[in-house]
Amino acid sequence: MRDGAGGVVPVARLSGVGLSYRHRPALIDIDLSLPSDRMIGLIGPDGVGKSSLLSLVAGARAVQSGQVEVLGGDMADARHRQRSCPRIAYMPQGLGRNLYPTLSVFENIDFFGRLFGQDAAERRARIAHLTASTGLADFIDRPAAKLSGGMKQKLGLCCALIHDPDLLVLDEPTTGVDPLSRRQFWDLIDRIRAERPGMSVVVATAYMEEAGRFDWLVAMDAGRILACNTPAGLLERTGCDDLETAFIALLPEERRREHHAVQIAPLSAGTQPIAIEARGLTMRFGDFMAVDHVSFSIGRGEIFGFIGSNGCGKTTTMKMLTGLLPPSEGQAWLFGRPVDAGDMATRRRVGYMSQAFSLYTELTVRQNLVLHARLFGIPAADRAARVAAMLDRFDLAQVVNALPTALPLGHRQRLSLAVAMIHQPEILILDEPTSGVDPVARDAFWRILADLSRHDGVTIFISTHFMNEAERCDRIALMHAGRVLATDPPAELARKRAADTLEDAFIGYLQEAAAPAASAEPAEAVTAAVPSAASVAGTAGVRRVFDLRRTLSYARREALELRRDPIRLTLALVGSVILMLVIGYGINMDVENLSFAVLDHDQSPLSHDYTDSIAGSRYFTEKAPITDYADLDRRMRNGQLSLAIEIPPNFARDIARGRAVNIGAWIDGAMPSRAETIRGYVQGMHQHWLARQAREAGRGAEAAGRVNIETRYRYNPDIESLTAMVPGVIPLLLMLIPAMLAALSVVREKELGSITNFYVTPTTRLEFLLGKQLPYVVLAMINFALLMGLAVTLFAVPFKGSLAAITLAALIYVICATALGLLISTFMRSQIAAIFGTAVLTLLPAVSFSGMINPVASLEGAGRVIGQLYPTTHFITISRGTFSKALGFADLYGSFWPMIVSVPILLGLTAMLLHKQER
């Protein structure tokens, strides 16, 4: 190593590494060597490739081109990854992104401990130790979602450290965390490193002021490395005083040219009218106090800063000022008028820019501006000029027809500001407008703000994480846990606390505020307290083809999460019952109470006898006689009559004379299957009537016919729809919902990001899949029991066969169904696609090709082939066989085999298609 600052062997070495997402390059030809046993910082704004680089090093993302060597092996080699992943810990970007929000602190760490094969006693000891040293011990049962940003990051660290890694990869661990928690976090890392000197730490950060702590820095921009050096070395090389200016100095010439230092003229003296005033503003969500009696007043033209961690109440306060949220208590005034959500006039005087980019990404830059101009009611005559002025002022003229998603973050922020300014508001409320924006663009943004404030007299209320931005404000308010700790000009704040920097002053205030409640920062050692640490690392390094404990760990976690998600749980437990009730009552092929009426031209006793023979049946209900053809037409058109009978004139006389007569019958053909049934009934009754007439006339032989067909309706003698439907519906429901939930369980992790834990832990594909599947198989069996209960009780469908046979078949079947869901999940990216995709892919073959409505034997072509392969077909056969046909194992074994064979095929395919790395 040329510099001499690093260890002998680099912990990671990248050569010629390139990476692109859909042709958009993220990393370009990176050559980099990271020294071991050091704390290495990757610095640079968002979107320059820091995260991509870290995910490659951690093995979470597949190498596209070039070579990545970590811990002495090639990360493109799956065996090396499997061997070394117990030595690497990875904490991805985003607060708590690899945590499970509904699981408690203990459950989260415990899950990771199980994945690394630690036994119960060891896990308990380690968790107790880690939580004690990070100060989380008091919150051990709190769900991760309810932790503050700083606590989430500490929990993430605990999860990463549970297996004593040699390489710790942290991606922006302190973004969005308050300065005190940030400082505590770094102190924690320092202590851990003191305990385990052999551990290398690679950190990405967007806060340049943090970078001073690191041993070694890698500055990145636009997918390339700008420089690698020690912090002191970088400052020396650029001749700058602080790292932020040093970073700007390192940028290529054309980027740097756009940069000018921000100069803000002093606020003109003299008292300005008050633009924004808040008195005792309070917001409660349930028993949580988000904003606690906040008061301040801001003069016209002032730049007022709001500083504080994520979740301290800044955003909520701003929303109350704009009228988005009505305060629980207190009052706010804009220009002396109380804020009222319904007051349209106030809205026209305020411009608001929310935290996340929140413009229409489907509209172009111009369309966004024009839409907002229209909504603010800017007259058509002025509109074009106003839009042009905004494009010019915010330097957006070149990208006017681009979609926002195609623009760099800095441009998007300028567009947001342009939209917020389109109606020339007197007040701008900006919620963290510069988060994630690079330093050059950030300074450009601030120059615009300075201009607006000083030249146009716009009052600016802005929140930020960046201390150098806070220093540019005329006054700032420090906010913490819903309260404003202090409000003063920045220099004044630092002076009051006798601190060198604003950050130190802020930390001073935070410590004072937290003092009564704080459990002093623990001084305990963080690692190496558990004696078996080394041996654990040793055993975890051994490759196992299949480890039941890891499977059960996934299963356990899945079950816990499901238990805490009411909508999914409801669907899982009662979804199929609800659908069974709907289908059971809704799909009925019995045809009864059909309305019919007669157009009787004869009106003889014989014609009345014919009518009575139909009216007497339980299938038909007679309506008022039809008066003429117009009446017949009208009543059939509006659906009042399903059947109309026309008896011709001289009906009785003609029969008596042995002359052939025809009775006309019109059936409503709108619903063909019902019409078929009616046709059958009418023909039957007609024959019956003829036979009776013949018998009465003494022509018995002819009446009885020449052959006696004894029709035996087997298994379901009354041909009841329910008896036939229910055994077919149970297989349908046991396919649809378990498959959908299993598919969701994997796609959810993909969408929320916790799938990373599967990528970077020793879990194998099969362990992961079976762990995911197990809870849903259990749930599906509970559903099976519920559906069986419903079938025999409420629907009173007799069960005649072997209960053991159908239960075993159901078990194999739901394993198939969940495996099918997992298979579908491998090619679905979003949860909504997984829901609809699974519904379509499982319902169509289950309903149409599996013999539920039409027997498979009646199908042709592809439908028949699908039907013969699809597991639903075989389970329907078993279900009908046991329900209605009184069959058992011996009769049905032929239907078990195809299902049993499907299980390994489906799971094997899924394992093959499931990626163990992000691509």
Binding site: P672, N716, T723, I835
Partner: protein, 373 residues
């Protein structure tokens, strides 16, 4: 309320939809391919039914009976031995098994009325009853014809002339296409409006709208009109191009009346979509709720099973759903050619239900909109 805002926000919705490729594919699929396949894939009630015959007679008459079973109603019969009959019925290989006894022809000719056994797998409820009727008719016709030719018997004096109105061939294709169209109108209008609302919420743009001089009523109306327009246009195209053109289904009634009714129905269903969008907190939740809502609407509205065949309580509850009235109306207009004079009660019911749904959604939208941001 400003009409201009409603108009511009609606245009914005349409622009967003144009860029949402997934939704466009779904619309295209639902109104073309899905309808075509629903129409053509739905087999006739009795189609290729599996029948086995045990011929213990082996006479010319029994041979005639065997030959009488022909596609498309029946598969060519399998001739089997008597002891295989039960197993084949048990495993679902056959739906019907006909046993022709020994000396059958001789007994028929001698007027001894021999008994013939027909076994029906009644778990196949869709085919069982109709199929048994067909088989009885076929056997009777063959026997009568056979006897008549040999003995010159007179015909029965009273005939029954059966005609199916509105769909003389009882083609399932007509029925399947129109029912699929009706179901997809309901499904898409709910999905489009609900998704439009949730998308705004997930992208944080609702918050953006709320700080502008725009009222919740304007936001909601803009989504209702724009998404309803999309579905209405797709319906018209589907009706003219796919159903009338490609599938050659004759549409009896006034298409103008039908499309007006669709517009009214969309007012109700898009309101439902908004309501669902306020209940669900994310797209996945919306998807799950949708399944629990759409299946009952599709199944219980009278399209799949006639309302008179449902338990009274279920039928009564379903009167509150707009789809029930819409299905009745659509069947009357499209199948039976009914006019306004016949279907006005349904139109009135849809309007009333739509108004209630709209009011409820607006109320809920206003109440929850603050927490959405």
């Amino acid at each position: 309320m400003r009409a201009a805002n409603i108009w511009h926000l609606g245009i914005k919705e349409l622009r967003s939809l144009v860029r949402d490729r997934g939704m466009l594919v779904l619309i295209l699929y639902a109104f073309t391919f899905a309808i075509y396949s629903a129409a053509t894939a739905m087999p006739e009630t009795l189609h290729n039914a599996a029948i086995a015959i045990v011929d213990e007679d082996g006479s010319p008459l029994s041979q005639r009976i065997v030959d009488a079973f022909q596609p498309p109603y029946f598969r060519p019969p399998d001739l089997i031995a008597a002891d295989r009959m039960d197993t084949r019925l048990d495993t679902g290989r056959d739906t019907f098994a006909l046993d022709i006894p020994p000396d059958f022809q001789r007994d028929v000719m001698a007027g001894r009325v021999p008994a013939m056994q027909l076994n029906v797998d009644a778990t196949q409820v869709r085919q069982a009853f109709t199929g048994a009727g067909y088989i009885q008719n076929i056997v009777n016709d063959e026997v009568t014809d056979f006897v008549r030719r040999r003995q010159n018997e007179p015909v029965l004096p009273v005939g029954l002339v059966l005609r199916a109105r509105f769909n003389p061939q009882l083609s399932e294709k007509w029925f399947g296409a129109v029912m699929e169209l009706i179901n997809n109108i309901t499904m898409l209008s709910i999905v489009l409006t609900g998704a439009a609302l949730i998308r705004e919420r997930e992208h944080g743009t609702v918050e953006h709208l709320l700080v502008m001089p725009v009222t919740p009523l304007e936001i909601m109306l803009s989504k209702v009109w724009s998404m309803a327009l999309v579905v209405l246009a797709a319906t018209a195209v589907s009706l003219f191009v796919v159903i009338r053109g490609l599938l050659a289904v004759p549409v009896h009634g006034s298409t103008l009346l039908f499309l007006s009714a669709v517009a009214l129905h969309l007012f109700a269903t898009t309101s439902m979509g908004i309501f669902l969008g306020t209940v669900a907190r994310s797209m996945p939740q919306f998807g799950l709720l949708l399944i629990l809502l759409l299946l009952p609407l599709d199944i219980l509205s009278g399209g799949m099973t006639p309302r008179e065949s449902m338990p009274t309580a279920v039928a009564d509850i379903m009167l509150a759903a707009p789809t029930t009235h819409f299905v009745a109306l659509a069947q009357a207009v499209l199948y039976r050619g009914a006019g306004l004079a016949t279907v006005w009660p349904q139109l009135a019911a849809i309007l009333a239900i739509g108004s209630v749904l709209f009011a409820a959604s607006l109320l809920r939208f206003r109440r929850t909109i603050a927490t959405m941001a």
